[in-house]
């Protein structure tokens, strides 16, 4: 069978996320519990987590999480890293042997910072430099796959049910201020570890439930801006779009949501002039970045968490709040299991973003 990257694979899913806006760090136990509730929304072919604030001791270094199929490719790849980065620390990512999780690749973690000379020669900003290095590894080193590349954050994913994946990676031993989780129900993949979600680039990590119908329009557009959609998954292209709009074009998160889940023209026509003109501009300027078809996404990044539904709200997504905590999940039960008492619970409308900014420094 063809795996991710060789064929487009749609999937149904479960997502869950939680964030403490005060920046307080908490352990990964709750996110495992939450995603476990939605066991039936996955089929054992993929699960994963993104965790923010977990590497405070290395917070100024890019944490590269990498799958290797063989030691040989690991050596080649490390040579590449050596040429481009100063590697501060490298290690296998700690895992727990479990009968539910099999066929694991070599899973390594590198804390790196770009070599100053290389960075200067490239005439790129640091993050772009890192992103390009990630693309090179993922497209040119067969059997190597960088699946996490942000600072002070990490993605942990595998083939299996998400709760098993969480135990496998010993997620309960990490502490962070935000976690997202994904349980996958792909419809035609043999299951490849790299194809599990979240999908991440730099500090952007996206979990997504849905199947976007605009995929190839989005893909072909974003590829023009230097991105390579190696996986052909929705989550990948959505991550790149968010990265492109946020990091490269400087749009704010509300503006990004007005691009990818743009209000309908008929809605825009009824708005006050200033707002209307802005939205009209965004729709024309970033027309290829409009995403249609069902999706509910959680976008984690260094500044916080954004949740967004497609503009018709074709996928379920519920938000709950309690104190400094915000919980977002495909089902309310997945929130109640860890926070039975909530100050408020609601289902955001289609295209209406829920944005939580974290107060750093706490």
């Amino acid at each position: 069978m063809l795996r991710e990257g060789q064929v487009r694979i749609p999937s149904g899913c479960a997502i869950s996320g939680m964030i403490d806006k005060s920046g307080r760090r908490f352990c990964g136990e709750d996110i495992i519990k939450s995603i476990a509730v939605m066991h039936d929304r996955s089929n054992g072919l993929g699960g994963g987590f993104a965790a923010y604030g977990i590497y405070p001791q290395y917070k100024d270094y890019y944490a590269l999480h990498v799958f290797f199929d063989s030691t040989a490719v690991r050596r080649d790849c490390e040579a590449f890293f050596e040429r481009h980065f100063d590697i501060i620390n490298l290690s296998k990512i700690p895992t727990r042997k479990m009968k539910e999780i099999t066929d694991e690749p070599y899973i390594w973690r590198y804390f790196v910072t770009p070599l100053p000379s290389k960075l200067t020669d490239s005439q790129l900003d640091e993050r772009e430099f890192v992103a390009r290095c990630v693309f090179r590894v993922n497209t040119q080193y067969d059997g190597a796959y960088v699946f996490s590349s942000g600072k002070n954050m990490g993605v942990f994913k595998a083939v299996g049910f998400p709760e098993d994946v969480g135990r496998f990676y010993r997620l309960e031993e990490y502490e962070g201020w935000c976690f997202t989780a994904h349980g996958r129900y792909p419809t035609n993949t043999p299951g490849w570890w790299g194809g599990a979600h979240p999908f991440a680039l730099l500090d952007y990590a996206v979990v997504h439930n849905g199947e976007i119908s605009s995929y190839d329009a989005n893909r072909r557009a974003i590829e023009m801006y230097g991105y390579k959609c190696t996986l052909q998954t929705d989550t990948e292209v959505i991550t790149y779009i968010v990265d492109y709009l946020h990091r490269k074009k400087g749009l704010t998160l509300p503006e990004i949501s007005s691009v990818i889940a743009a209000p309908f023209w008929q809605t825009i026509q009824r708005m006050p002039q200033a707002e209307r003109e802005t939205l009209e501009y965004l729709r024309v300027m970033f027309a290829p970045q409009l995403i249609t078809g069902p999706f509910s996404i959680l976008v984690g990044h260094e500044g916080g968490l954004m949740a967004l539904n497609d503009r018709l709200k074709l996928r379920s997504m519920v938000v709950g709040e309690q104190g400094n905590m915000t919980y977002i999940a495909s089902e309310e039960a997945a929130i109640r299991v860890i926070a039975p008492q909530l100050e408020s619970v609601w289902a955001p409308k289609g295209g209406e973003p829920v944005i939580v900014e974290v107060e750093h420094g706490n």
Partner: protein, 501 residues
Amino acid sequence: MGINWIYPEHEVVRNRDRCINCRVCERQCANEVHEYLSEHDKMVCDDAKCVNCHRCVSLCPTRALKIIPSGNTYRPNSNWTNRTINELYRQADTGGVLLSSMGCPQRYPVYFEKILLNASQVTNPSIDPLREPMESKVSLGARPRDIQRDENGRMINNLPPQISLSMPVMFSAMSYGSISYNAHESLARAAQELGILYNTGEGGLHEDFYEYGANTIVQVASGRFGVHSAYLNSGAAIEIKMGQGAKPGIGGHLPGTKIVGDISRTRMIPEGSDAISPAPHHDIYSIEDLRQLVYSLKTVTGHKKPVIVKIAAVHNVTAIASGIARSGADIIAIDGFRGGSGATPTRIRDNVGIPIELALASVDQRLRDEGIRDNVSIIVGGSIRSSADVVKAVALGADCVYIGTSALMALGCHLCRSCHAGKCNWGIATQEPQLTRRLNPDIGHRRLVNLMNAWRHEIKEMMGGMGINSIESLKGNRSMLRGIGLNEKELEILGIRHAGE
């Protein structure tokens, strides 16, 4: 009479049981095929004059008429077909270049017919356009690389001039002169009602139609007929016509007999003089010259109108398009080799150029590969025959399509391909008052509006089926397409997979 080399192609068949001798056919045929013999109280016809335009068939109140192939044939020969032989005889007779009209009728592959569309099942929902908003609005023009913000962080509208359309279809260039005043009025009024644009073609713009300026593309062709500052400023966009799918490499030719009255005035040439557009623009012998014309036109119009450059789809269309995308033009229009014409040399129509589907696919991909797809929008024409063709063209990467032949057919054209004779029985490609009045713009524009509304409904149905509710999510969305009966090379150029993959 000498030798009668060519037997009539068609035969007019009259059902005597149904004919009531009302003589409508006789009155309506400008080619004088039908005649009433009063002494015999009977209608007769001369098949040799028939061009098969179906005017008589359509108006016969008792359906007493039909037109069939005459069936006369030379000794069957797969190499020397009847058509080839007749054309040879005709040239031996006249010594002239064979003239034709409308698009290429030959049996080349129609790729639109070898592409199938996708629809949603189970994993994502199709969308019902009757219940949910379904957006067909399109904006054509260049997109800048970056946004700009003012000191308060508000985004500044830095978009170059755009064309806003209610749907991704426009009426392509057909000049006043090649088609009638009433045909132009029909197109202009329909464009206005539909919120799309029509195109003046190269014959200038009749003063009566300046009021439709917001829905008008004014064309500048190699003959520069009717081009002046007011004209350039009257429309919503300017199109530089470099080429035409039906006759790549040659210019237009409107015979002096059609240069009468208002047409002469509008074109700014003397009555009765042939309007001959040079094959090239004589101020454009290379791409950098084009850039100068683009900027001249922008200067004249205060940089308020997008500039379209229209080219015929020829072999190196991708490279040409790439050059245009860097020329300052806002929009590229590509005309495929099946595109229509009011008059074109038969050999050129039938042998020069490439299909629009392939040209579109390769141009769209090439501009993306070069990272300059945002510099321009792409309009394609050259036999867009249905809403399905529109959807396929957009999914291949077009921003919009041009329709010419389809629009004329809504006005009555029956594809008899004798526009060049000037005796269009449907009042479209003629300037004879007795014939032009046959096209009442009240009816004509309504039929165009109907056609476009029908297509828009169908486009929305197809989009909804794919789970797409905005046309921009269809644009370039080639995963929604699958080829059928195409070889690897064709699939590669089209950038699509084969059905079943």
